[in-house]
Amino acid sequence: MDNTTTYREAVREAIRKAMTENESVFLMGEDVGHYGGCYAVSMGLLDEFGAQRIIDTPLSESSFTGAGIGAALNGMRPIVEIMTVNFSLLALDQIMNNAATLLHMSGGQLNVPLVIRMATGGGKQLAAQHSHSLEGWFAHIPGLKVLTPATVQDAYDMVGLALADPDPVLIFENALLYNSKGSIDTQGTPVPIGKALIHKAGKDISIFTYGISLFKALEAAEALAKDGIDVEVIDLRSLRPLDDETVMNSVKKTHKVIIVDEGWKSGSISAEIMARINEQAFYELDAPMARVCTVEVPLPYAKHLEDAALPQPQKIVDTARTMMGK
């Protein structure tokens, strides 16, 4: 393991592999071709695969997403890149009313093997219209799967998992992770969709999280270890389906819960996880569950305000200490 592969390269490599192995796979989205991708994920792929398979689209989020659905219905395996989640709102009708619905509504006739990738998250001082974290919100929609790769390995694996799935899969790549480094195993069997992973075992508190918050939680875990608080950090990996089993097993072990979530607090995935733990493991709880989410504001530009709005390791530490009465 040389830890020199970036998250960006991992996604690119996975796309390259899929396109090499399967003629039906293609990539389409704004600036994926000549520009090389807004976050340089697809850099070089246009030269490698040509403009027929690396398709620069006009700014027409609703229609190129819908075109992805149509192409998926008609034998292709499209990867649609929506530049960032902020623009996915323009495509929501296609995603909810078509992609998520067609299989059921057609009585099982029409599955939609579509992969939609998008960058997500705040923290780059891009202000209110460019800093959404809506992955938890998308997880409300039946018919979709919602993946949130945090590690370089998952950045790689999830492209393949999503393409192998017969149904629409959304992959949310936190833009701050693109430069993060790790190593990838390209030969192993990927951890399947719907399976959470314990990143650090612990006995005092379970921290459930995903995406970039995983690293915030791990950082907090280190600090807490110094206080003698031994937290378990679990990467949910997939927000729909959620891995209830892994969640409940952890709760049974620690009896205390913190959820760290990049979404706005009210109505985000953290609430859903709390609801499920309440439903499935209520009597295991020793204390109220807590959550560290994004403050409910349109994200501000100024760095100190943005930092204050987003989940931070220190907030996790404080929350854990309070929970342990320290």
Partner: protein
């Protein structure tokens, strides 16, 4: 286009089938056998019949919530459509779709879409897939005049034109979107001109004449299959009935409806056949009878259909092999 007797009979039969099928639907709606929204195609039958005639089995069709006529003309069986509207497993969408969501993958009939303009991007994508896979097929996408105002209309026409995709866009301009007349919704009411502004080959035709639509459709499909990119047809037509079953029709004059009924596509076609001396050979009574029998059978089939088991409610949210 040559109009031989066989074609004449077929056109007449199909248009009448749609008419009678929907008339029966109205009864069944009153009897509460059919529920939800029911949008009738009566008055517009010529378009679906002529368009479907221009296609091969490999071509694909996407329509709106006003799609009974398309499903029937495409050859989806009366039985499975009726059973669908009865909410039965034997329905073409297993009773999950209802009137607005008829699907038949084997007929390459892709719905049945209830979001105005929502199927246009899908059609673009299907055509893109055909082009990428070098299959010489057409995707036909039908929508109303109301769809023209939606952003997706614009985005989709641009994509299709830009990428020279094999799509046949068909706008059924029946002058109203629900109760809102075209003049209240478009600064340019000549819809075909809008399509032309995307450099799409575009034409306005008489949607009440099955012959004229058939001619235009045939030429359009040929053009598309020759690799010339998308074609747009604006079909001038009129719905004789209310928008749906809950419409008091306050927004249009009775006189206007009466005027348009004179252009009833069945009537127009009958007169034309009389002119060219074919009508006498069309056995209209036999056709009526055959249609009646077929519809009776469909109703019986639907009545006798089964209800999906409640345990299967969540089936098809994800594919069976899926990890969901």
């Amino acid at each position: 286009m040559e109009l031989d007797l066989m074609k004449a009979k077929e056109f007449y039969h199909k248009m009448l089938l749609i008419r009678r099928f929907e008339e029966r639907c109205v009864e069944l709606y009153s009897n509460q056998k059919i529920r939800g929204f029911l949008h009738l195609y009566i008055g517009e039958e010529a378009i679906a019949v002529a368009l479907m005639d221009a296609l091969t089995k490999e071509d694909a069709v996407l329509a709106t919530y006003r799609e009974h006529g398309y499903a029937l003309a495409r050859g989806v069986s009366c039985e499975s459509i009726m059973a669908e509207m009865f909410g039965k497993v034997e329905g073409c969408s297993r009773g999950r779709g209802g009137s607005m969501h008829l699907f038949d993958a084997s007929a390459r009939f892709y719905g049945g879409s209830a979001i105005v303009a929502g199927a246009l991007p899908l059609a673009v994508g299907m055509a893109l897939a055909d082009k990428m896979q070098k299959r010489n097929r057409v995707t036909v996408c039908v929508f109303g005049d109301g769809a023209v105002a939606e952003g997706e209309f614009h985005e989709s026409l641009n994509l299709a034109a830009l990428w020279k995709l094999p799509v046949l866009f068909v706008c059924e301009n029946n002058l109203y979107a629900m109760g809102t007349a075209l003049k209240y919704t478009e600064s340019e009411t000549e819809i075909y001109k809008k399509a032309a502004s995307y450099k799409i080959s575009s034409k306005q035709i008489d949607g009440m004449s099955v012959i004229e639509v058939a001619k235009a459709a045939k030429r359009a499909v040929e053009d598309i299959k020759d690799g010339n990119g998308p074609v747009f047809l604006e079909c001038l037509t009129y719905r004789f009935r209310a928008h749906s079953m809950f419409d008091a029709e306050l927004y249009r004059e009775k006189a206007e409806v009466i005027e348009w009924k004179k252009k009833d596509p069945l009537l127009v076609f009958e007169n034309r056949l009389k002119e060219i001396g074919l009508w006498s050979e069309v056995d209209a009574t036999a056709i009526e009878d055959a249609i009646k029998t077929a519809i009776d059978k469909a109703v019986e089939f639907a009545e006798n259909g089964t209800l999906e088991a409640l345990e299967d409610l969540e089936k098809f949210v994800y594919s069976e092999v899926s990890h969901g």
